[in-house]
């Protein structure tokens, strides 16, 4: 009886270990990978603006918004993308001048999976978008 119980506990622990590993890797695979840009001063439609981002970084859902990548205090999800509302000032030639972003903000330009929700754990690609 004791032997059976010990064996059952050992098998349970091994299965727990296996599923922990599997879920960790699945979580990593499901975490969107993002390529970021920093808003830069630039010219849009002949006017100079202080914060210009590529147009594909700006999304519309009633109000325009971008996803800003920020470091978190979480051990498992150290980086997250937060939805931030912006005001579109001008757009053209694939660029959009926006208001409402801080200078060093890392704005998501591309993501390899759809970003859904207000705050999403992401993995930031090492290299900044061209």
């Amino acid at each position: 009886m004791n032997r059976t119980a010990a064996k059952a506990i050992a098998v349970f622990l091994l299965l727990m270990l296996f599923f922990t590993f599997a879920s960790h890797h699945l979580d990593a695979l499901r975490t969107p990978q993002v390529l970021c840009v920093t808003p830069k001063p630039g010219v849009v439609a002949g006017e100079r603006y202080s914060a210009v981002v590529p147009s594909e970084a700006v999304h519309f859902d009633r109000d325009p918004y971008v996803y800003v990548v920020e470091d978190t205090l979480s051990y498992f999800y150290p980086v997250a993308a937060r939805r931030a509302l912006v005001r579109v000032i001008a757009s053209g030639d694939g660029l959009t001048a926006v208001d409402g972003l801080y200078r060093e903000a890392r704005v998501v330009r591309y993501a390899d999976r759809a970003l859904l929700g207000g705050t999403i754990p992401v993995r930031a690609w090492e290299v900044e978008a061209p």
């Binding site: 694939g94 993501a111 390899d112």
Partner: protein, 258 residues
């Protein structure tokens, strides 16, 4: 015991043969690329010109499609955005993941082998622990602990040293398994449940569309099938060898006891 030893040797042979074939098949990896299927190729080329200049691509034509060589996971997104910006409708086939996924099929056995290696180590540790526990119980019925330790000291010390080495190996293997990053083709993993056959069928149809698949796409699909079939054979052979080896060790222990 002999039957298990034969199974173990056969599994090792099958594994070696599959690994050799796999290594030979993966000598040439497919290049990562994105294919664009549009009705108006010149317009698409024009729309992609800024993004191509930005990323350093040189789009080429291959029949009725545009081909962009890139291994970046964001290449397809950039191309889709550029086409959408120019109001051009087209189909973008993303194969930027091809070299990484194909190469990964050749190393899947390492992870699987590490799991079985850990299982063998655990079995060995469990069996030896039980053996020593029963020996100690039996000995302590007729001996003082000091006498028992004096008699069995060398054996216990040897086993303790082997246990230490095994523990270090297990920690390193677990650390490697934890840190290893898997690569999957883009869009393969569903947003919802993993057990949705319709999603995988749809993904297969989107990635390798019937009648629209290029020669490259057909060759890639064949290589992925072969690579993963060989990986499955390698993993099955490893599992069979590990199970047979465990059986041999168990049998040996029973024989020692009797």
């Amino acid at each position: 015991m002999r039957r298990r030893a034969v199974i173990c040797a056969l599994a090792a042979l099958v594994f070696a043969a599959a690994l050799t074939w796999h290594t030979l098949a993966l000598r040439e990896l497919p290049e990562g690329r994105v294919e664009v299927l549009v009705s108006d190729l010149p317009a698409a080329e024009q729309a992609l010109a800024p993004v191509a200049a930005e990323w350093g691509w040189t789009p080429g034509r291959e029949g009725e499609r545009l081909v962009i060589l890139s291994e970046s996971p964001f290449a397809a997104s950039a191309i889709r955005a550029a086409l959408a910006g120019a109001d051009i409708e087209g189909q973008v086939l993303d194969y930027a993941w091809a070299p990484a996924v194909t190469a990964q099929s050749g190393t899947l056995w390492l992870g699987w082998g590490a799991v079985w290696g850990l299982w063998l180590l655990w079995s060995l540790f469990w069996a030896q622990g039980r053996t020593e526990w029963s020996r100690a119980q039996a000995a302590l019925e007729r001996q003082y602990p000091g006498q028992y330790l004096s008699d069995a000291g060398v054996r216990l010390l040897t086993k303790a040293i082997v246990l230490d080495v095994g523990a270090v190996a297990a920690i390193l293997a677990l650390q490697w398994l934890w840190r290893t990053e898997l690569v999957l083709p883009s869009g393969l993993l569903p947003e919802g449940t993993l057990f949705d056959p319709a999603h995988y069928r749809q993904w297969g149809q989107n990635a390798f569309p019937d009648g629209l698949c290029s020669d490259y796409g057909a060759a890639l699909a064949a290589k992925l099938r072969l690579g993963h079939a060989l990986a499955a054979v390698e993993c099955a052979a490893l599992a069979a060898a590990a199970a047979a080896l465990r059986g041999v060790l168990k049998q040996k222990r029973v024989e020692e006891r009797t």
